[in-house]
């Protein structure tokens, strides 16, 4: 008898991803979907699609979904979770969505320690609208709206959402991960799993930030983009756990 070593996860539909070649949105979708399947929570999951490149991920995740206005996913998730506490509710948001227009919603979801799971995609640009500067764009990084490179005097230093949220008492679990190589992908999956387990235990707000790539708007090949993420992004956005439930702290 042959053993199946790789199989499409039930957490994803048959629909082909709409992401550009080499974009790590796809990997992150797979990790979330696999975790939903492995924890056997697909049947109770309700996901929130953002505004951004992942806007149509209601077609990809094989569970109930709601599409939210730009940045409002944590509020929509709050509305769902409060009336359906037995369901598993998660948002999937980019850095324009979460770190710019939706800062109030994410900060207060953490502040109330909403029992939801947030998957945050930090790719240092606004992907969908064509690579404009995001609050996460690195100093000196050229984008379509910072054509001379981000100038910290004009636009400030990039915002570190994990560190910011970790200062909020209600943030139960905050971790930053990356998917630039297989070892990190495995680590990232463990973080996603933990973020959902925390919700299943009713422990409160769980947040996983992904360093992600946007080869198209970074003007790089997929491999160059992975290297750039590793060399430049992680340098400014260190990986690791910023907050975790007391019982789990080593």
């Amino acid at each position: 008898m042959s053993k199946i070593v790789f199989q499409r996860t039930k957490g994803l539909t048959e629909k082909e991803f709409s992401y550009c070649p080499g974009c790590t949105h796809g990997i992150i979708h797979r990790l979330v979907a696999e975790v939903l399947e492995e924890l056997n929570i697909l049947d109770k999951a309700i996901g929130i699609s953002p505004v951004g490149c992942a806007v149509m991920n209601y077609e990809f995740f094989n569970c109930d979904m709601q599409q939210a206005a730009h940045g409002r996913a944590p509020a929509v998730a709050t509305g769902i979770k409060r009336v359906r506490p037995d369901n598993i509710v998660f948002t999937y948001q980019g850095d324009g969505d979460l770190a710019s227009i939706g800062t109030a919603e994410i900060v207060h979801a953490a502040h109330r320690s909403e029992n939801i799971t947030v998957i945050f995609i930090n790719n240092a640009v606004y992907g969908m609208t064509g690579g404009q500067m995001a609050p996460t764009t690195l100093v000196g990084q050229k984008t379509t709206t910072s054509p001379f490179g981000r100038d910290a005097r004009l636009c400030g230093e990039p915002i570190r959402m994990s560190e910011l949220l970790a200062t909020i008492p209600g943030a139960t679990y905050v971790e930053r991960v990356s998917v630039h190589d297989p070892a990190n992908v495995r680590k990232a999956k463990r973080a996603v799993k933990k973020a959902f387990e925390i919700q299943m235990k009713g422990l409160g707000f769980a947040f996983v930030e992904f360093i992600s790539t946007c080869p198209v708007n970074w003007g790089k090949t997929p491999q160059e983009a992975l290297n750039w993420a590793k060399e430049h992004m992680i340098n400014y956005y260190p990986l690791g756990v910023f907050r975790e439930p007391k019982e789990d702290a080593q």
């Binding site: 569970c63 979904m65 206005a69 509020a75 709050t78």
Partner: protein
């Protein structure tokens, strides 16, 4: 049940509870704050959820989420807060989600004032947010009617899967009036919410709550489907009251608090032998165009009376369709007219008409 004295904002909250409202999300603003305060205290007894959001923007998006999850949900606010909710209301109309939104209107623009106003008429009746949509809007004139329409509004929202707004003002919100919260109201036969995100529970394919249609042909189809729904609403849900129409020389169109003042003016006028009727819209969207067919031949002109500088008058003109002269009287900024001011406006208009 007999009538009891209640403050408007509290009676509105109780009406929602009686209608089976199971979730409330809102943000404090005068002159409606007693409404969320009442729910904060009493919602738990009814097994529902009360949450004070970080902003009106967040509150309406929480409403979106809860409604999408299939639960009867409400928010309340006042004019500047309703302005902030427009994004979410447009998304809800697009995604065809029901909810009841109470707007205890105050003066504007900007921070404006906190006194009664009807200056949000256009914002309410033209959709308010982006896109081709409408919210069903009731503008009751006293507390009993307000309580009744709130109870009905939850059914109407569910029936059409569309947001419903209750447009009142601080006078109704703040005043103590005798009210029977258990008065029977008409009930609708409601479809099951098969579209709600409850988790598949392994029993059905996933569902999705959404207002995105990237293909223009599909978005057009969606808009046409909504348009057909709005046509049905216009046909079935216009509501109005006609007062003192027989043999009237002039008809005043007025809603809400203004209609109450107009009633006093009409009595003063009748003491002087001047017969004036009242056409009182109870729904401001759909605007009760049908009522204009019932205006008798004795009527020589129409006077739109509003707590604004003149907004509903455009709908009055559309409904009147050029048949009769249309005049305007209004006070705004939170100023309420004395009935005598309306009496003078009526006499001036009638005088002008005689000289034509």
């Amino acid at each position: 049940m007999a009538k009891v004295m209640m403050k408007g904002n509290e009676a509105m909250a109780l009406a929602a509870l009686k209608a089976g409202c199971k979730a409330f999300f809102g943000y404090p603003i005068t002159p409606q704050s007693e409404l969320p305060e009442y729910l904060a205290k009493h919602m738990p007894k009814y097994g529902g959820v009360f949450l004070q959001a970080e902003s009106e923007v967040a509150a309406i998006n929480m409403v979106y989420g809860a409604s999408g999850a299939g639960v009867r949900v409400m928010t309340s606010s006042s004019s500047p807060g309703i302005a902030l909710k427009q994004e979410g209301i447009s998304y809800m109309a697009g995604a065809e989600l029901p909810a009841v939104i109470i707007n205890v209107m105050r003066g504007g623009p900007g921070l404006g004032g906190i006194q009664p106003s009807q200056a949000d008429y256009k914002q309410i009746t033209r959709g308010g947010g982006n896109g081709d949509y409408y919210v069903i809007a009731y503008a009751p004139e006293d507390l009993q009617e307000t309580v009744n329409v709130i109870k009905e509004a939850f059914d109407v929202a569910d029936l059409y899967s569309n947001p419903v707004m209750i447009a009142v003002d601080g006078l109704i919100g703040q005043m103590m009036e005798p009210v029977d919260v258990d008065m029977e109201v008409s009930k609708r036969e409601l479809p099951e919410k098969t579209w709600a995100t409850t988790g598949t529970q392994g029993k059905r394919p996933p569902v999705n709550i959404n207002s995105l249609y990237l293909d223009p042909l599909n978005l057009e189809k969606h808009a046409l489907k909504l348009a057909e729904k709005y046509r049905l609403i216009k046909e079935n849900e216009q509501r109005y009251e006609l007062v003192n129409m027989d043999g009237a020389e002039l008809v005043i169109v007025a809603f809400g608090t203004m209609a109450r003042i107009v009633r006093s003016a009409i009595e003063l006028l009748s003491e002087e032998g001047i017969k004036v009727g009242l056409l009182r819209p109870i729904t401001i969207w759909p605007f009760p165009e049908k009522a204009f067919n019932e205006i008798p031949d004795s009527v020589k002109g129409i006077l739109s009376c509003e707590l604004s500088t003149g907004q509903m008058i455009d709908d009055v003109k559309i409904a009147n369709n050029g048949r009769l002269p249309v005049g305007f009287f209004g006070r705004t900024g939170g100023m309420l007219p004395e009935p005598e001011e309306i009496v003078s406006a009526v006499k001036a208009m009638l005088g002008g008409l005689k000289h034509e």
